[in-house]
Amino acid sequence: MPQTQTTTDYQQRIAKLQEAMKEFGLQAVVLEPGPAMMYLTGVRWGKSERTFAVVLPAKGDPVWVLPGFEEARARELIHVGNDIRIWQEDESPFARIAQALKDRGVTGKVGIDDSARFFVFDNIRKLAPKLDYVSASQVLKAAGTK
Protein backbone atom coordinates (compact mmCIF):
# COMPACT_ATOMS: atom_id res chain seq x y z
CA MET A 1 0.00 0.00 0.00
CA PRO A 2 1.50 3.37 -0.96
CA GLN A 3 2.22 5.63 1.99
CA THR A 4 0.87 8.99 0.97
CA GLN A 5 0.46 10.56 4.39
CA THR A 6 3.32 12.35 6.07
CA THR A 7 4.11 12.57 9.75
CA THR A 8 2.60 16.06 9.74
CA ASP A 9 -0.68 14.67 8.41
CA TYR A 10 -0.87 12.23 11.30
CA GLN A 11 0.04 14.93 13.79
CA GLN A 12 -2.79 17.05 12.40
CA ARG A 13 -5.24 14.19 12.63
CA ILE A 14 -4.27 13.57 16.24
CA ALA A 15 -4.59 17.31 16.98
CA LYS A 16 -8.10 17.18 15.54
CA LEU A 17 -8.87 14.19 17.72
CA GLN A 18 -7.59 16.07 20.75
CA GLU A 19 -9.93 18.96 19.94
CA ALA A 20 -12.82 16.52 19.65
CA MET A 21 -11.85 14.90 22.94
CA LYS A 22 -12.13 18.25 24.69
CA GLU A 23 -15.51 18.81 23.12
CA PHE A 24 -16.78 15.40 24.29
CA GLY A 25 -15.11 15.55 27.68
CA LEU A 26 -12.69 12.67 27.07
CA GLN A 27 -9.21 12.76 28.58
CA ALA A 28 -7.74 10.00 26.47
CA VAL A 29 -8.51 7.44 23.80
CA VAL A 30 -7.08 3.91 23.81
CA LEU A 31 -6.78 2.14 20.46
CA GLU A 32 -5.97 -1.40 19.50
CA PRO A 33 -4.71 -2.00 15.95
CA GLY A 34 -7.40 -1.36 13.37
CA PRO A 35 -8.77 1.30 11.05
CA ALA A 36 -8.72 4.06 13.69
CA MET A 37 -5.07 3.42 14.58
CA MET A 38 -4.25 3.29 10.90
CA TYR A 39 -6.03 6.58 10.15
CA LEU A 40 -4.65 8.49 13.10
CA THR A 41 -1.10 7.17 13.25
CA GLY A 42 -0.45 5.24 10.03
CA VAL A 43 0.45 2.12 12.00
CA ARG A 44 -0.86 -1.18 10.67
CA TRP A 45 -0.47 -4.07 13.02
CA GLY A 46 -2.32 -7.33 13.50
CA LYS A 47 -4.27 -8.04 16.64
CA SER A 48 -2.86 -10.99 18.50
CA GLU A 49 -2.87 -12.22 22.06
CA ARG A 50 0.11 -9.92 22.63
CA THR A 51 -1.41 -6.52 23.29
CA PHE A 52 -0.23 -3.67 21.09
CA ALA A 53 -1.95 -0.34 21.80
CA VAL A 54 -1.64 3.41 21.59
CA VAL A 55 -2.88 5.82 24.23
CA LEU A 56 -3.80 9.19 22.74
CA PRO A 57 -4.28 11.70 25.54
CA ALA A 58 -6.28 14.92 25.14
CA LYS A 59 -3.15 16.68 26.32
CA GLY A 60 0.37 15.48 25.66
CA ASP A 61 2.12 13.00 23.43
CA PRO A 62 0.87 9.57 22.41
CA VAL A 63 2.14 6.56 24.33
CA TRP A 64 2.77 3.29 22.52
CA VAL A 65 2.60 0.00 24.40
CA LEU A 66 3.98 -3.04 22.62
CA PRO A 67 5.74 -6.40 23.06
CA GLY A 68 9.45 -6.12 23.80
CA PHE A 69 10.67 -8.47 21.10
CA GLU A 70 8.65 -6.57 18.47
CA GLU A 71 10.21 -3.23 19.33
CA ALA A 72 12.56 -2.95 16.36
CA ARG A 73 9.87 -3.87 13.86
CA ALA A 74 7.35 -1.55 15.52
CA ARG A 75 9.72 1.43 15.58
CA GLU A 76 10.00 1.23 11.80
CA LEU A 77 6.24 1.77 11.57
CA ILE A 78 5.66 4.42 14.23
CA HIS A 79 5.81 7.95 12.82
CA VAL A 80 4.10 9.82 15.62
CA GLY A 81 5.22 9.80 19.23
CA ASN A 82 8.53 8.84 20.83
CA ASP A 83 7.11 7.46 24.04
CA ILE A 84 7.31 3.74 23.39
CA ARG A 85 6.83 1.48 26.39
CA ILE A 86 7.60 -2.16 25.91
CA TRP A 87 6.42 -5.06 27.99
CA GLN A 88 8.29 -8.33 28.21
CA GLU A 89 6.57 -11.70 27.93
CA ASP A 90 6.11 -12.06 31.70
CA GLU A 91 4.98 -8.46 32.20
CA SER A 92 1.56 -6.83 31.87
CA PRO A 93 0.83 -4.57 28.90
CA PHE A 94 -2.16 -3.29 30.86
CA ALA A 95 0.08 -2.03 33.65
CA ARG A 96 1.91 -0.02 30.98
CA ILE A 97 -1.36 1.38 29.64
CA ALA A 98 -2.65 2.25 33.12
CA GLN A 99 0.64 3.97 33.90
CA ALA A 100 0.49 5.91 30.63
CA LEU A 101 -2.99 7.16 31.50
CA LYS A 102 -1.73 8.20 34.92
CA ASP A 103 1.35 9.91 33.49
CA ARG A 104 -0.85 11.96 31.17
CA GLY A 105 -3.00 13.08 34.07
CA VAL A 106 -6.08 11.12 33.07
CA THR A 107 -8.57 10.95 35.93
CA GLY A 108 -11.96 10.91 34.18
CA LYS A 109 -13.37 9.67 30.91
CA VAL A 110 -11.36 7.34 28.69
CA GLY A 111 -12.62 6.49 25.22
CA ILE A 112 -12.16 2.88 24.13
CA ASP A 113 -12.01 1.91 20.48
CA ASP A 114 -15.24 0.12 19.55
CA SER A 115 -13.27 -2.70 17.98
CA ALA A 116 -11.05 -3.20 21.06
CA ARG A 117 -11.42 -6.63 22.54
CA PHE A 118 -13.13 -7.09 25.90
CA PHE A 119 -10.02 -8.51 27.57
CA VAL A 120 -7.99 -5.40 26.77
CA PHE A 121 -10.60 -3.09 28.26
CA ASP A 122 -11.25 -5.42 31.21
CA ASN A 123 -7.61 -5.67 32.18
CA ILE A 124 -7.08 -1.90 31.99
CA ARG A 125 -10.22 -1.42 34.07
CA LYS A 126 -8.91 -3.78 36.73
CA LEU A 127 -5.75 -1.71 37.12
CA ALA A 128 -7.44 1.69 36.86
CA PRO A 129 -10.92 1.06 38.26
CA LYS A 130 -11.74 4.69 39.00
CA LEU A 131 -11.63 5.84 35.40
CA ASP A 132 -14.83 6.09 33.40
CA TYR A 133 -14.60 3.98 30.22
CA VAL A 134 -16.84 5.04 27.36
CA SER A 135 -17.13 4.33 23.68
CA ALA A 136 -14.70 6.36 21.60
CA SER A 137 -16.87 6.07 18.50
CA GLN A 138 -18.30 9.61 18.56
CA VAL A 139 -14.99 11.30 19.18
CA LEU A 140 -13.27 9.19 16.54
CA LYS A 141 -16.00 10.03 14.06
CA ALA A 142 -15.69 13.73 14.88
CA ALA A 143 -11.96 13.45 14.19
CA GLY A 144 -12.61 12.04 10.73
CA THR A 145 -12.02 8.34 11.40
CA LYS A 146 -14.36 6.11 9.47
Binding site: G46, K47, S48, E89, S115, F118
Partner: protein, 416 residues
Protein backbone atom coordinates in the same frame (compact mmCIF):
# COMPACT_ATOMS: atom_id res chain seq x y z
CA UNK B 1 5.67 -19.46 16.58
CA UNK B 2 3.03 -18.00 14.51
CA UNK B 3 2.53 -14.31 14.62
CA UNK B 4 -1.09 -14.34 15.31
CA UNK B 5 -4.04 -16.50 15.89
CA UNK B 6 -4.72 -17.32 12.31
CA UNK B 7 -8.36 -18.21 12.67
CA UNK B 8 -9.07 -14.98 14.45
CA UNK B 9 -7.28 -12.98 11.83
CA UNK B 10 -9.19 -14.81 9.15
CA UNK B 11 -11.88 -12.19 9.47
CA UNK B 12 -9.39 -9.37 9.32
CA UNK B 13 -7.13 -10.93 6.73
CA UNK B 14 -6.98 -7.60 4.95
CA UNK B 15 -4.88 -6.27 7.80
CA UNK B 16 -1.39 -7.00 6.59
CA UNK B 17 0.97 -7.89 9.28
CA UNK B 18 3.22 -10.84 9.08
CA UNK B 19 4.44 -13.40 8.21
CA UNK B 20 5.96 -10.99 5.82
CA UNK B 21 6.53 -13.45 3.03
CA UNK B 22 2.86 -14.30 2.99
CA UNK B 23 1.82 -10.66 2.91
CA UNK B 24 4.09 -10.05 -0.05
CA UNK B 25 2.85 -13.03 -2.00
CA UNK B 26 -0.71 -12.03 -1.36
CA UNK B 27 -0.29 -8.73 -3.13
CA UNK B 28 0.21 -9.67 -6.70
CA UNK B 29 3.89 -10.50 -6.19
CA UNK B 30 5.74 -12.79 -8.55
CA UNK B 31 4.05 -16.05 -9.51
CA UNK B 32 6.18 -19.16 -9.29
CA UNK B 33 5.71 -22.43 -11.18
CA UNK B 34 4.65 -25.32 -8.97
CA UNK B 35 7.20 -28.16 -8.92
CA UNK B 36 5.87 -31.53 -10.09
CA UNK B 37 6.78 -33.17 -6.77
CA UNK B 38 4.30 -30.83 -5.09
CA UNK B 39 1.62 -31.30 -7.73
CA UNK B 40 1.89 -35.05 -7.07
CA UNK B 41 0.84 -34.70 -3.41
CA UNK B 42 -2.55 -36.14 -2.53
CA UNK B 43 -5.09 -34.98 0.05
CA UNK B 44 -4.43 -36.38 3.52
CA UNK B 45 -7.90 -35.97 4.97
CA UNK B 46 -9.14 -39.55 4.73
CA UNK B 47 -10.81 -40.73 7.89
CA UNK B 48 -10.81 -37.37 9.63
CA UNK B 49 -13.45 -37.46 12.38
CA UNK B 50 -15.06 -34.07 12.99
CA UNK B 51 -16.05 -33.18 16.52
CA UNK B 52 -19.42 -34.81 17.19
CA UNK B 53 -22.59 -33.07 18.32
CA UNK B 54 -22.39 -35.15 21.50
CA UNK B 55 -18.92 -33.82 22.27
CA UNK B 56 -20.13 -30.24 21.75
CA UNK B 57 -23.02 -30.89 24.13
CA UNK B 58 -20.57 -32.19 26.73
CA UNK B 59 -18.50 -29.00 26.30
CA UNK B 60 -21.60 -26.92 26.97
CA UNK B 61 -22.39 -28.98 30.06
CA UNK B 62 -18.85 -28.45 31.32
CA UNK B 63 -19.09 -24.72 30.65
CA UNK B 64 -22.34 -24.54 32.61
CA UNK B 65 -20.78 -26.42 35.48
CA UNK B 66 -17.81 -24.02 35.47
CA UNK B 67 -20.27 -21.12 35.43
CA UNK B 68 -21.83 -22.37 38.65
CA UNK B 69 -18.39 -22.78 40.17
CA UNK B 70 -17.28 -19.27 39.15
CA UNK B 71 -20.68 -17.68 39.85
CA UNK B 72 -21.12 -16.44 36.32
CA UNK B 73 -24.72 -16.12 35.18
CA UNK B 74 -24.18 -16.36 31.44
CA UNK B 75 -21.48 -16.40 28.80
CA UNK B 76 -21.74 -14.07 25.81
CA UNK B 77 -19.70 -14.43 22.64
CA UNK B 78 -19.45 -13.21 19.07
CA UNK B 79 -18.28 -15.31 16.13
CA UNK B 80 -14.85 -16.92 16.37
CA UNK B 81 -13.12 -19.97 17.73
CA UNK B 82 -14.98 -20.10 21.06
CA UNK B 83 -18.33 -20.02 19.27
CA UNK B 84 -17.09 -22.75 16.94
CA UNK B 85 -15.88 -24.78 19.92
CA UNK B 86 -19.27 -24.84 21.60
CA UNK B 87 -21.69 -24.67 18.69
CA UNK B 88 -19.94 -25.70 15.47
CA UNK B 89 -20.80 -22.30 13.99
CA UNK B 90 -18.06 -19.80 13.34
CA UNK B 91 -20.42 -16.89 12.97
CA UNK B 92 -19.72 -14.44 10.20
CA UNK B 93 -17.93 -11.14 9.96
CA UNK B 94 -18.56 -8.56 12.64
CA UNK B 95 -21.67 -6.94 11.21
CA UNK B 96 -24.49 -7.44 11.57
CA UNK B 97 -24.12 -8.48 15.18
CA UNK B 98 -24.35 -12.24 15.70
CA UNK B 99 -24.17 -13.45 19.29
CA UNK B 100 -24.47 -16.68 21.19
CA UNK B 101 -25.54 -16.66 24.82
CA UNK B 102 -25.03 -19.58 27.15
CA UNK B 103 -26.82 -19.22 30.48
CA UNK B 104 -25.57 -21.10 33.53
CA UNK B 105 -28.88 -22.95 33.48
CA UNK B 106 -31.15 -23.66 30.55
CA UNK B 107 -30.93 -23.51 26.79
CA UNK B 108 -28.53 -21.27 24.93
CA UNK B 109 -29.88 -18.48 22.69
CA UNK B 110 -28.78 -16.91 19.44
CA UNK B 111 -29.27 -13.28 18.59
CA UNK B 112 -29.08 -12.70 14.86
CA UNK B 113 -30.14 -10.17 12.29
CA UNK B 114 -33.40 -10.98 10.50
CA UNK B 115 -31.32 -10.96 7.31
CA UNK B 116 -28.71 -13.40 8.64
CA UNK B 117 -28.00 -16.31 6.34
CA UNK B 118 -26.34 -18.38 9.07
CA UNK B 119 -29.58 -20.09 10.13
CA UNK B 120 -28.56 -21.13 13.63
CA UNK B 121 -30.55 -23.91 15.30
CA UNK B 122 -32.45 -23.66 18.57
CA UNK B 123 -33.65 -20.56 20.36
CA UNK B 124 -33.04 -17.83 17.80
CA UNK B 125 -34.01 -14.23 18.46
CA UNK B 126 -33.86 -11.98 15.46
CA UNK B 127 -33.75 -8.22 15.23
CA UNK B 128 -34.60 -6.03 12.26
CA UNK B 129 -31.73 -4.27 10.52
CA UNK B 130 -32.71 -1.01 12.15
CA UNK B 131 -33.63 -2.76 15.41
CA UNK B 132 -31.82 -3.13 18.71
CA UNK B 133 -29.92 -6.41 19.13
CA UNK B 134 -29.12 -5.55 22.74
CA UNK B 135 -32.78 -5.60 23.63
CA UNK B 136 -32.85 -9.19 22.33
CA UNK B 137 -29.76 -10.17 24.30
CA UNK B 138 -31.17 -8.59 27.45
CA UNK B 139 -34.46 -10.42 26.95
CA UNK B 140 -32.68 -13.75 26.43
CA UNK B 141 -30.80 -13.21 29.71
CA UNK B 142 -34.02 -12.27 31.48
CA UNK B 143 -35.86 -15.32 30.13
CA UNK B 144 -33.17 -17.53 31.65
CA UNK B 145 -33.35 -15.66 34.95
CA UNK B 146 -29.76 -14.47 34.65
CA UNK B 147 -28.92 -11.83 37.20
CA UNK B 148 -25.37 -12.77 38.10
CA UNK B 149 -22.29 -11.41 36.35
CA UNK B 150 -22.15 -11.84 32.59
CA UNK B 151 -18.95 -13.49 31.38
CA UNK B 152 -17.70 -11.90 28.19
CA UNK B 153 -15.66 -14.06 25.85
CA UNK B 154 -12.24 -12.43 25.57
CA UNK B 155 -12.64 -11.15 22.00
CA UNK B 156 -16.11 -9.67 22.23
CA UNK B 157 -15.79 -6.11 20.97
CA UNK B 158 -15.99 -3.18 23.34
CA UNK B 159 -18.95 -1.85 21.33
CA UNK B 160 -20.95 -4.97 22.14
CA UNK B 161 -20.15 -4.72 25.84
CA UNK B 162 -21.05 -1.02 25.70
CA UNK B 163 -24.36 -1.65 23.91
CA UNK B 164 -25.31 -4.33 26.41
CA UNK B 165 -24.42 -2.33 29.51
CA UNK B 166 -26.50 0.57 28.22
CA UNK B 167 -29.42 -1.79 27.68
CA UNK B 168 -28.99 -3.46 31.07
CA UNK B 169 -27.16 -1.03 33.36
CA UNK B 170 -27.69 -3.16 36.45
CA UNK B 171 -25.75 -6.12 35.07
CA UNK B 172 -22.12 -6.71 35.93
CA UNK B 173 -19.75 -7.75 33.14
CA UNK B 174 -16.66 -9.83 33.84
CA UNK B 175 -14.14 -11.88 31.91
CA UNK B 176 -15.51 -15.14 30.59
CA UNK B 177 -12.00 -16.61 30.52
CA UNK B 178 -12.45 -19.02 33.46
CA UNK B 179 -15.21 -20.69 31.44
CA UNK B 180 -13.86 -20.63 27.91
CA UNK B 181 -10.27 -21.36 28.87
CA UNK B 182 -11.41 -23.84 31.50
CA UNK B 183 -13.03 -25.86 28.73
CA UNK B 184 -10.69 -25.29 25.82
CA UNK B 185 -7.33 -25.76 27.53
CA UNK B 186 -7.84 -29.52 28.01
CA UNK B 187 -8.10 -31.39 24.73
CA UNK B 188 -10.16 -34.53 24.28
CA UNK B 189 -8.85 -37.59 22.41
CA UNK B 190 -10.92 -36.44 19.38
CA UNK B 191 -9.23 -33.04 19.46
CA UNK B 192 -5.79 -34.57 19.86
CA UNK B 193 -6.50 -36.78 16.85
CA UNK B 194 -7.37 -33.70 14.76
CA UNK B 195 -4.27 -31.87 15.96
CA UNK B 196 -2.24 -34.98 15.12
CA UNK B 197 -3.59 -34.92 11.58
CA UNK B 198 -2.82 -31.23 11.14
CA UNK B 199 0.73 -31.88 12.38
CA UNK B 200 1.16 -34.88 10.06
CA UNK B 201 0.03 -32.77 7.11
CA UNK B 202 2.44 -29.97 7.94
CA UNK B 203 5.34 -32.42 8.12
CA UNK B 204 4.26 -33.91 4.76
CA UNK B 205 4.17 -30.39 3.34
CA UNK B 206 7.63 -29.52 4.65
CA UNK B 207 9.04 -32.83 3.42
CA UNK B 208 7.76 -31.98 -0.04
CA UNK B 209 9.03 -28.41 -0.11
CA UNK B 210 12.49 -28.81 1.45
CA UNK B 211 13.88 -30.56 -1.67
CA UNK B 212 12.70 -27.60 -3.78
CA UNK B 213 15.19 -25.30 -2.04
CA UNK B 214 17.81 -24.08 -4.51
CA UNK B 215 20.58 -21.56 -4.92
CA UNK B 216 19.31 -18.05 -5.58
CA UNK B 217 15.79 -18.89 -4.48
CA UNK B 218 13.66 -16.01 -3.27
CA UNK B 219 12.01 -16.67 0.10
CA UNK B 220 8.65 -15.94 -1.51
CA UNK B 221 9.16 -18.81 -3.95
CA UNK B 222 9.61 -21.26 -1.07
CA UNK B 223 6.54 -19.74 0.60
CA UNK B 224 4.60 -20.22 -2.60
CA UNK B 225 5.65 -23.88 -2.69
CA UNK B 226 4.37 -24.29 0.86
CA UNK B 227 0.99 -22.81 -0.11
CA UNK B 228 0.78 -25.08 -3.15
CA UNK B 229 1.72 -28.15 -1.10
CA UNK B 230 -0.99 -27.45 1.46
CA UNK B 231 -3.55 -26.98 -1.30
CA UNK B 232 -2.52 -30.34 -2.81
CA UNK B 233 -2.73 -31.95 0.62
CA UNK B 234 -6.32 -30.74 0.89
CA UNK B 235 -5.99 -28.06 3.57
CA UNK B 236 -5.43 -24.36 4.01
CA UNK B 237 -2.08 -23.43 5.41
CA UNK B 238 0.83 -21.13 4.94
CA UNK B 239 4.31 -20.40 6.15
CA UNK B 240 6.76 -17.72 6.99
CA UNK B 241 10.11 -18.33 5.33
CA UNK B 242 13.41 -16.69 6.22
CA UNK B 243 16.94 -17.13 4.90
CA UNK B 244 20.37 -16.27 6.29
CA UNK B 245 20.53 -13.44 8.81
CA UNK B 246 16.74 -12.97 8.62
CA UNK B 247 16.24 -16.28 10.43
CA UNK B 248 17.05 -14.32 13.60
CA UNK B 249 13.81 -12.32 13.35
CA UNK B 250 11.11 -14.30 15.17
CA UNK B 251 8.49 -12.90 12.83
CA UNK B 252 10.56 -12.71 9.69
CA UNK B 253 11.21 -9.78 7.42
CA UNK B 254 9.62 -8.41 4.29
CA UNK B 255 13.08 -7.75 2.86
CA UNK B 256 13.49 -9.87 -0.29
CA UNK B 257 16.05 -12.60 0.33
CA UNK B 258 18.04 -14.73 -2.09
CA UNK B 259 19.22 -18.06 -0.78
CA UNK B 260 22.92 -18.78 -0.96
CA UNK B 261 25.29 -21.55 0.04
CA UNK B 262 25.81 -21.64 3.81
CA UNK B 263 22.53 -19.90 4.69
CA UNK B 264 20.17 -21.28 7.26
CA UNK B 265 16.59 -21.74 6.07
CA UNK B 266 13.71 -21.30 8.49
CA UNK B 267 10.13 -22.37 7.72
CA UNK B 268 7.41 -21.74 10.31
CA UNK B 269 3.64 -22.02 10.62
CA UNK B 270 1.02 -24.62 9.85
CA UNK B 271 -2.40 -25.60 8.63
CA UNK B 272 -5.75 -26.53 10.11
CA UNK B 273 -7.92 -29.62 10.10
CA UNK B 274 -11.54 -29.16 11.23
CA UNK B 275 -10.30 -25.90 12.72
CA UNK B 276 -7.47 -27.48 14.72
CA UNK B 277 -4.10 -25.86 14.07
CA UNK B 278 -0.58 -27.07 13.55
CA UNK B 279 2.47 -24.88 14.08
CA UNK B 280 5.87 -26.32 13.21
CA UNK B 281 9.24 -24.72 12.57
CA UNK B 282 12.23 -26.28 10.88
CA UNK B 283 15.61 -24.60 10.62
CA UNK B 284 18.20 -26.29 8.44
CA UNK B 285 21.36 -25.55 6.50
CA UNK B 286 21.57 -24.99 2.77
CA UNK B 287 25.00 -26.37 1.95
CA UNK B 288 27.56 -27.01 4.66
CA UNK B 289 27.15 -25.56 8.16
CA UNK B 290 29.89 -23.66 9.93
CA UNK B 291 31.01 -24.88 13.34
CA UNK B 292 29.16 -21.93 14.88
CA UNK B 293 25.90 -22.72 13.10
CA UNK B 294 26.11 -26.36 14.16
CA UNK B 295 26.92 -25.45 17.75
CA UNK B 296 23.98 -23.05 18.06
CA UNK B 297 21.65 -25.50 16.30
CA UNK B 298 22.68 -28.29 18.70
CA UNK B 299 22.12 -25.97 21.64
CA UNK B 300 18.66 -25.11 20.37
CA UNK B 301 17.83 -28.78 20.13
CA UNK B 302 19.00 -29.30 23.75
CA UNK B 303 16.73 -26.44 24.83
CA UNK B 304 13.77 -28.00 23.05
CA UNK B 305 14.57 -31.36 24.68
CA UNK B 306 14.74 -29.68 28.09
CA UNK B 307 11.28 -28.15 27.66
CA UNK B 308 9.88 -31.50 26.54
CA UNK B 309 11.32 -33.27 29.59
CA UNK B 310 10.06 -30.55 31.95
CA UNK B 311 6.48 -30.51 30.67
CA UNK B 312 5.18 -33.14 33.10
CA UNK B 313 1.75 -33.13 34.72
CA UNK B 314 1.94 -31.10 37.92
CA UNK B 315 4.85 -28.94 36.80
CA UNK B 316 4.13 -25.24 36.38
CA UNK B 317 4.05 -23.69 32.93
CA UNK B 318 6.78 -21.28 33.93
CA UNK B 319 9.09 -24.13 34.92
CA UNK B 320 9.04 -25.40 31.32
CA UNK B 321 10.13 -21.99 30.06
CA UNK B 322 12.82 -21.87 32.75
CA UNK B 323 14.15 -25.30 31.75
CA UNK B 324 14.58 -24.33 28.09
CA UNK B 325 15.92 -20.88 28.91
CA UNK B 326 18.51 -22.30 31.31
CA UNK B 327 20.07 -24.39 28.56
CA UNK B 328 20.42 -21.28 26.42
CA UNK B 329 21.62 -18.89 29.13
CA UNK B 330 24.05 -21.46 30.57
CA UNK B 331 25.77 -21.35 27.18
CA UNK B 332 26.33 -17.63 27.59
CA UNK B 333 23.29 -16.23 25.78
CA UNK B 334 20.72 -13.87 27.29
CA UNK B 335 20.13 -13.50 30.18
CA UNK B 336 16.36 -13.35 30.27
CA UNK B 337 14.92 -12.09 27.00
CA UNK B 338 18.15 -10.34 26.02
CA UNK B 339 19.58 -11.15 22.61
CA UNK B 340 21.62 -12.87 21.45
CA UNK B 341 19.38 -15.37 23.16
CA UNK B 342 15.74 -16.33 23.56
CA UNK B 343 13.68 -13.12 23.16
CA UNK B 344 10.24 -14.63 23.81
CA UNK B 345 8.38 -17.28 25.82
CA UNK B 346 9.09 -20.97 25.15
CA UNK B 347 5.62 -21.88 23.90
CA UNK B 348 1.92 -21.28 23.61
CA UNK B 349 -1.18 -23.36 23.91
CA UNK B 350 -2.59 -24.60 20.61
CA UNK B 351 -5.97 -25.88 19.52
CA UNK B 352 -8.60 -24.03 17.50
CA UNK B 353 -6.36 -20.99 17.76
CA UNK B 354 -2.75 -21.18 16.66
CA UNK B 355 -1.88 -19.35 19.86
CA UNK B 356 -4.18 -19.91 22.80
CA UNK B 357 -4.15 -20.27 26.55
CA UNK B 358 -2.11 -21.33 28.44
CA UNK B 359 1.43 -20.11 27.81
CA UNK B 360 4.84 -21.50 28.72
CA UNK B 361 6.06 -18.24 30.17
CA UNK B 362 7.66 -16.93 33.34
CA UNK B 363 4.98 -15.92 35.82
CA UNK B 364 2.46 -18.53 34.68
CA UNK B 365 2.07 -20.84 37.65
CA UNK B 366 -0.72 -22.84 36.02
CA UNK B 367 -0.07 -26.53 36.57
CA UNK B 368 0.35 -28.66 33.50
CA UNK B 369 -2.35 -31.29 33.11
CA UNK B 370 -2.95 -34.23 30.80
CA UNK B 371 -4.75 -33.08 27.65
CA UNK B 372 -3.02 -29.71 27.44
CA UNK B 373 -1.26 -28.99 24.15
CA UNK B 374 1.63 -26.60 23.65
CA UNK B 375 4.13 -25.48 21.11
CA UNK B 376 7.72 -26.13 22.22
CA UNK B 377 9.83 -23.51 20.49
CA UNK B 378 12.67 -21.86 22.31
CA UNK B 379 14.44 -19.68 19.74
CA UNK B 380 18.06 -18.62 19.68
CA UNK B 381 18.17 -15.27 17.91
CA UNK B 382 21.53 -13.80 17.03
CA UNK B 383 20.76 -10.59 15.18
CA UNK B 384 23.18 -9.87 12.35
CA UNK B 385 24.13 -13.55 12.12
CA UNK B 386 21.26 -16.01 12.14
CA UNK B 387 18.58 -17.58 14.31
CA UNK B 388 17.54 -21.14 15.01
CA UNK B 389 14.05 -22.19 16.00
CA UNK B 390 12.92 -25.76 16.30
CA UNK B 391 9.25 -25.97 16.95
CA UNK B 392 7.16 -29.04 17.48
CA UNK B 393 3.89 -29.21 19.36
CA UNK B 394 3.39 -31.51 22.29
CA UNK B 395 0.45 -32.94 24.17
CA UNK B 396 0.51 -33.88 27.79
CA UNK B 397 -0.24 -37.43 28.89
CA UNK B 398 -0.34 -38.91 32.39
CA UNK B 399 3.28 -39.90 32.02
CA UNK B 400 4.62 -36.72 30.47
CA UNK B 401 4.77 -34.70 27.27
CA UNK B 402 4.74 -36.30 23.84
CA UNK B 403 5.57 -34.55 20.61
CA UNK B 404 3.05 -34.78 17.78
CA UNK B 405 5.97 -34.90 15.38
CA UNK B 406 9.48 -36.32 15.28
CA UNK B 407 11.98 -33.65 16.25
CA UNK B 408 14.58 -32.55 13.77
CA UNK B 409 17.69 -34.64 14.44
CA UNK B 410 20.43 -32.39 13.06
CA UNK B 411 21.14 -29.13 11.26
CA UNK B 412 21.31 -30.98 7.94
CA UNK B 413 18.40 -33.32 8.72
CA UNK B 414 15.12 -31.45 9.15
CA UNK B 415 13.11 -34.63 9.61
CA UNK B 416 13.49 -37.51 12.03
Amino acid sequence: MRLNRRTFLGIAAAVPFMPASRAQRGRGGPQYPIPDSIKALKPMLDGVQPITAAERRARIAKAQSLMHEHKIGALVMEGGTSMFYFTGSRGAGQDPLFVWILPAKGEPSWVASATSTLHPQGDVRTYETDGNPYLRIAQALKDRNVSGPIGMEERVRFSVFDGLRKQSPSLEFVSGDPITIGCRVIKSPAEIALLQRANDITIACYKAVVPTVHDGMDQRELGSNVDAAYAALGVRGDAMVSFGQYTAFPHGSITPQKLKEGDLVLIDDGCSVEGYQSDITRTFIFGKPTARQRQVWDLERKAQDAALAAAKPGATCESVDAAARKVITDAGFGPGYKTPGLPHRTGHGIGLDGHEWTYLVKGNTTKIQPGMCFSNEPTIAIYGEFGVRLEDCMYITDSGARMFTKQSPAIDQPFG
